[in-house]
């Protein structure tokens, strides 16, 4: 201990930084990194459950699971592309909708708390407990109100939807955009109910903008439109990234591909293949996320 060198200021600072992170890092390594590594390990092996002795036998299989996933498995590739396509469609819509709603809800008006609470409801409704409870009550109601209203929506929505598609199609709108919009309308309920958390994050971001900035903008004579693009939007942009990441994560967790790997693991007892599915899809979504976030980050203004 006597020989201990005195630390330089930067070293000292980085040490304090590490002590702050430590409680999180230890838990992270124990609980998350380990299970991540185990899953990667499983995806390169064949797992056989051993009911007599208990536990399982693990034999190294190399790339066999990955080869099987892409070349032999019947539905994997198709499920993968549809779930990634769904994410690509849903995420921008959720972001725009929640930003818009946050802007509206951030205004001062009577009953604001109540309205905000209403928009937070879907977050609660999405939770496991409520979904389970709702399912039970739905069963008891023999396809009760929720199902009935969904049917009504579908019924009426379906009719007018076709009408609109025809109308815009005859106006010569490109099919790509048209399909996107039609898809968006079909997903309206999903999008509204999936944007509760994002709205809250955006509201918190809007709250974090110093009022003096708006004051300056007002004094300089900026219109509402200008204020939005020159003050609000740049200040909120970092949180668009936050929300983007959050939305992709949540959407991915609920996507078909995850369901597929889950069922491969737990109903077909093919742990190796299921882990491989999870690994492949996670890597692809991560890659997309890195590209998109990197693109936005370049345009982001940070305070300093």
């Amino acid at each position: 201990m006597k020989k201990k060198k005195r630390l330089t200021l930067t070293q000292k600072r980085s040490l304090t930084g590490l002590t702050f992170i430590l409680p999180w890092l230890i838990g992270f390594i124990i609980f998350y990194l380990r299970s991540l590594i185990m899953t990667v390990d499983f995806s390169f092996s064949t797992i056989e459950v051993n009911p007599q002795a208990g536990g399982y036998n693990q034999t190294f299989a190399g790339w066999e699971n990955f080869r099987y996933a892409f070349q032999v498995h019947g539905t994997f590739k198709q499920v993968l592309t549809t779930s990634i396509g769904d994410i690509l469609i849903d995420v921008p819509l959720i972001i725009f909708f929640s930003l818009f709603m946050a802007l509206v809800l951030n205004r001062k008006f009577r009953g604001r708390t109540l309205v905000r609470a209403i928009f937070f409801l879907p977050v609660i409704m999405n939770s496991e407990a409520i979904t389970a409870a709702l399912d039970y009550s739905r069963q008891q109601l023999m396809g009760g109100l929720t199902a009935a209203s969904a049917e009504v929506m579908e019924g009426s929505g379906g009719m007018s939807l076709d009408y609109y598609i025809d109308m815009f199609g005859s106006l010569g709108m490109p099919d790509m955009i048209l399909e996107y919009i039609v898809g968006a309308i079909g997903r309206l309920t999903d999008i509204i109910s999936a944007s509760g958390v994002q709205i809250i994050i955006f509201i918190a971001a809007l709250q974090a903008i110093a009022p003096s900035m708006y004051e300056v903008a007002k004094i300089e004579g900026a219109t509402g439109y200008e204020t939005f693009w020159k003050v609000t939007f740049p200040m909120v942009l970092p949180h668009i990234i936050t929300n983007l990441v959050y939305t992709v994560v949540i959407n991915f967790a609920e996507s078909e591909i995850v369901t597929l790997s889950y069922s491969t693991i737990f109903s077909e007892n093919n742990y190796g293949l299921g882990s491989a599915f999870a690994l492949i899809s996670t890597l692809i979504v991560c890659l997309i996320l890195v590209i998109v976030v990197g693109f936005i980050q370049k345009r982001t203004f940070y305070y300093n």
């Binding site: 708390t113 496991e128 407990a129 109601l141 709250q207 974090a208 219109t223």
Partner: protein, 294 residues
Amino acid sequence: MKKLGKTFRRLFHRQKQLNRSMAGNTLLFVLMGICGVFMALPLVMIANNALKPLDEIYQYPPKIFVRNPTLENFSDLFVLMNDSWVPFSRYIINTVIITGGGTVGHVLVASLAAYPLAKRNFPGKSIVFSMVVLSMMFSWTVTQIPNYMIISWLHINNNYLALILPAWQYGMGLYLMKQFMEQIPDSLLESARLDGASEFRVFWTIVMPNVKPAWLTLAIFQFQQMWGNTGSMYLRDEALKPLQFALQQITAGGAARAGASAAVTFFIAAIPIIFFLACQSNVLETMTTSGMKE
């Protein structure tokens, strides 16, 4: 162009509030109304179901609003609660420990870790951060088996800690806190340091109050997550199980308990909403008074 801007400005200035028009307000109101109804409908149904007598619950086609409201469902629920094998207060205490421990711990651990990630440079920072993002991406439904193995390896199986400790390390909270802390101007922290504040003091008295909306938001999420946790995977002792589990048992009781389970559903939904409302009113008042001046 300039002239146009001026006339516009004059137009808007005539109204008391800037940039608001009657038509715009009406449009917004209608839009919000539609979306709001969409979102509120399930809750309205839950609330009304809780007040419906049995014959109305089974009515077909179902009605949204209750005709003859009773509190029978709630009294049924209390009877069922008193009949339970473990005293019901035990479930409530379990829930308070798990939800409280998970929420408070997560907010603290995540904020502590987020501060150096946002405002400090140290070796390995980018690696830590990319691990956070990767961990968020990896869906934990798939890693259930490794998770279980780790919990039993740590010998915290059948213990509150099995639910509380992993909850502290969710990547999302850290990510959220980091994003918000990045917005705090460096000069604010610098001035605190010049005044001789220790690093922890800077964190506790400057950073945390400034990101109060963020950590309150985080607390809302985390509460929501922990509240929904039945713990059926790790907790085997009935005396350790949370309220959520007991309530689901009642709900699963079948047709005879439809009334009580409607009351249960109402109860499950109501608590997080109350928590949200309590936090939300605090979120509103924070940033306006903070010392962010540049």
